[in-house]
């Protein structure tokens, strides 16, 4: 069979089938199309202004490395006039972070960008290794996510930078849409897709220029551009709903490659349909921000397995709600016919507890969840609670600190998690 020519230039030989739409392209055309699409996203959303100082949240992984490379290219090609720099967080995970931080350091040289590394130990007084030793491996995704998001803001503030870009891609956004639908979380559904998220507590805005870029294309871009990146993702397993959404999206992509993008689009459309009293908050992008902090594990782990605990918990809660509700609801018995054609005798109904028929779309006996934003009393960080997630987590950690000195017996349910973690640690060492 003769080589297939590139769909775009019709000259060079096609070496890439685009995961997004199965177009066959040559290397150069693929790189250019990929970059142009990111450029279009940046232009259509007016993401930057001339002279803006922008920090790229860099983990050494593929997403942020590609983001840094593409932004550097576009900044020069289209003369954005941006001052770009790399901002890295050192979670303090031995064998994992050490190597990825080396990658980021090399990237800083390769892209001639200044680099700032902020450590968990200096920000929180705890490294991730210490956190894991303290709490075991269950629910560690929570710490990983919450601490990292806040660390980016705090690091940016240190650099005097007002805009942090992150490597979140279309797969991440699609996953978040599906996850929020599965969790029945309308406020988050309404804001999870916005490209820019702001904050009431700090004036640092966060954005995701790769929002429409497929994870698979990011990998291809990194490969064909021969970028230097670190291949391991976060080693902690995702929360159950995110895990379920992730599986679903991988299946959908097999059936119809455009579906990742279509979910992002659906998410954007649905955001406009969420009733205002539900999306809450005067500053909607601030909700989105809190949303990211609280829910985006951002771990992108492909092999993360979850216990399903969150889904089981919600199932229990819903069953309890339904039970309570069925006792409140007045059943119009006279309207119901028995199989033998008779009408059952009227049961006594307590008129006081009898509820009016439900309004359209309102779940019985349950208020729609709303969110209001304030500041954390301890650290001043944006939070929907009195105390932000990070401070709440820290409180728990600090309370139990002395115990870490003693060998803690691993609970039976933690064991699987720990062996998984160890296996993953071993693999990391093998791949480096």
């Amino acid at each position: 069979m003769p080589p297939t020519p590139c769909l775009r230039c019709r000259e060079a030989r096609a070496v890439i089938i685009r995961p997004k739409n199965r177009h066959k392209l040559c290397r150069n055309c693929f790189l250019e199309v990929f970059e142009t699409e990111v450029h279009e996203t940046i232009m259509s959303t007016k993401l930057f202004y001339r002279g803006e100082r922008v920090a790229i949240g860099a983990s050494g992984g593929k997403d942020s490395t590609v983001l840094a490379s593409v932004l550097k290219t576009l900044n020069e090609r289209y003369d954005y006039g941006l001052e770009l720099m790399l901002l890295s967080i050192d979670e303090g995970i031995k064998g994992y972070r050490d190597d990825s931080l080396e990658t980021v350091k090399r990237n800083a040289v390769q892209y001639t960008m200044p680099l700032e590394i902020v450590g968990y130990d200096e920000l929180y007084g705890w490294t991730m290794d210490q956190v894991v030793a303290q709490v075991g491996k269950k629910g560690n995704c929570t710490y990983c996510g919450v601490f990292r998001r806040q660390a980016l803001d705090r690091g940016a503030a240190r650099l005097g930078i007002k805009h942090v870009v992150t490597g979140h891609n279309a797969d991440d956004v699609a996953e978040t849409v599906m996850m929020n639908l599965l969790r029945g979380d309308l406020p988050r559904l309404s804001r999870g897709t916005s490209i820019v998220t702001g904050s009431e507590a700090s004036d640092i805005k966060r954005s995701k220029p790769l929002k429409y870029a497929y994870e698979k294309e990011i990998v291809l871009y990194a490969h064909h551009k021969k970028l230097d990146y670190f291949t391991t993702e976060c080693i902690y397993s995702p929360e159950a709903f995110r895990g379920s959404a992730r599986t679903l999206i991988k299946d959908l992509e097999k059936i119809r490659p455009s579906s990742i993008l279509d979910i992002v689009r659906s998410g954007e459309d649905m955001a406009t349909l969420v009733p205002p009293e539900v999306s809450g908050a005067k500053n909607p992008t601030a909700v989105a921000r809190a949303t990211e902090e609280e829910t985006t594990g951002g771990c992108g782990s492909q092999n993360g397995r979850s216990s399903g605990g969150e889904m089981a918990d919600m199932e229990k809660q819903l069953a309890a709600d339904e039970n309570a509700q069925s006792h409140e609801t007045e059943i119009k018995l006279s309207d119901i016919q028995l199989p033998d054609g008779s009408v059952p005798l009227q049961k006594t109904t307590n008129k006081k507890t009898a509820k009016k028929p439900p309004q359209k779309g309102t779940p019985l006996g349950k208020q729609v969840k709303t969110q209001t934003m304030g500041k954390c009393e301890r650290c001043g960080y944006i939070s929907s609670q009195k105390i932000c997630k990070a401070c709440a987590l820290l409180e728990g950690l600090n309370k139990n600190r002395p115990k870490t000195a003693i060998e803690v017996e691993i609970a039976a349910e933690d064991e699987e998690g720990s062996t998984t973690l160890m296996r993953q640690m071993e693999r990391i060492q093998l791949t480096t």
């Binding site: 639908l181 029945g184 119809r256 455009s258 279509d262 969420v274 199932e315 309207d335 199989p339 779309g361």
Partner: protein, 366 residues
């Protein structure tokens, strides 16, 4: 009553042996029927007695599947009860529409006898049977839209019978996701056109809660997020006809249980095709994938799945921004300036089709 020995009494009436577990409660036959019926009655509340002048005309599309069959049984019972009261008029008038299943899918049986059976089971209401290709009669504009939709992939031949012309169009769509998607829209358009022709303002769809959850997820995955306000939520469809989903509070398994209790329903229901284990994921349609997902997850987490439909139904329809899709009536805003994956071949002018429909067009099939 002392002396009565029940091994597992019904938790509602305590009088009778329970026969099945419903949301972790053991119920007897009568209490289960009352429970299920109660959920429908509540949804049908708005169609209770009305002054004669403002009586509702409701259309119930019957597919002979379990859900629409059970819905018919329940709504009919409600109508009978209203009729039994000779002093006031019934709240609504019910019409049933059957789109002959064998004209939709070659795998479906011909249903002539079935149509006789169902009419005998519910003698007091009017039934109409049409074929899928009668859409060209009821919705005369659809042909032009289909030609535009399929472009050069579909060359219509007016000398052919309607059946063949529709078949030819359907064959121009090659993936099962797109075919199922477009078939669904055409069926909805046919039912809507029939409703309009027969003066019905409201269509009662039989979708169970599980089905609505699957539909919500599938529509989101197909870029049809904005259509949830009428495809999952009770609401006004783009054609001005009201869509209602009275079965939204019942799980599919509960409808199966209900149907099993009534031989007259069983007599005309076409049983669900069993889920085949050995189809590769990539060969499923998105609608099938989501149906399977909701079914398997629903075994462990029925409440979570039910909550998906409830969440989706909280979305509020908004004013139509920009144009209206010629095929499905959704806003075409979603198809404007598609970012990503579109730089090469998609048109840049104002779109005539929404994103969801654009994805199912033959030349864009991928």
């Amino acid at each position: 009553m002392p002396g009565k020995e029940l091994s597992s009494p019904c938790v509602d009436c305590h009088d009778v042996e329970s026969i099945l577990t419903v949301r972790s409660r053991r119920l007897c036959r009568n209490c289960f029927v009352r429970y299920a019926g109660g959920k429908i009655v509540r949804r049908m509340e708005k169609f209770r007695r009305q002054p004669k002048s403002s009586q509702y005309k409701l259309l119930l599309p019957l597919s002979y599947g379990v859900s629409s069959s059970v819905l018919l049984h329940m709504v009919y019972a409600q109508l009978e009860r209203q009729r039994a009261n000779t002093y006031s008029p019934t709240g609504f008038d019910l019409q049933v529409l059957v789109v002959e299943p064998s004209t939709i899918s070659a795998f479906s049986p011909a249903c002539e006898e079935r149509f006789e059976t169902v009419q005998k089971a519910f003698p007091a209401i009017s039934f109409t049977q049409v074929s899928f290709h009668s859409i060209f009669e009821f919705d005369p504009n659809v042909l032009e839209t289909l030609q535009e939709f399929a472009g050069s992939s579909f060359v219509d031949d007016p000398s052919l019978p309607a059946l063949d012309r529709l078949e030819k169009f359907r064959r121009s769509i090659t993936t099962s996701t797109s075919r199922t998607d477009v078939d669904n829209i055409l069926l909805i358009r046919l039912v809507v056109a029939f409703a309009k022709a027969s003066g019905c303002q409201t269509i009662l769809w039989g979708d169970s809660d599980s089905r609505l959850a699957a539909k919500a997820l599938a529509n989101v995955a197909k870029g049809r997020g904005s259509s949830l306000t009428w495809q999952v939520s009770d609401g006004i469809s783009p054609w001005g006809i009201e869509f209602e989903y009275p079965m939204r509070d019942l799980f599919k398994t509960e409808l199966d249980n209900y149907a099993n209790l009534f031989p007259e329903v069983k007599s005309f229901v076409i049983p669900d095709a069993p889920i085949s284990e050995n189809i590769l994921t990539k060969n499923l349609s998105i609608d099938e994938l989501m149906m399977r997902y909701v079914q398997t997850q629903g075994e462990k987490y029925p409440g979570v799945m039910a909550n998906v439909a409830r969440t989706a139904s909280k979305l509020q329809a908004s004013e139509l921004r920009s144009g209206q899709c010629k095929l499905c009536g959704a806003s075409t805003a979603s198809a404007e300036g598609l970012t990503g994956g579109t730089t090469i071949s998609e048109e840049r002018e104002i779109p005539r089709f929404c994103l969801g429909c654009a994805r199912s067009r033959p030349m864009l099939d991928n």
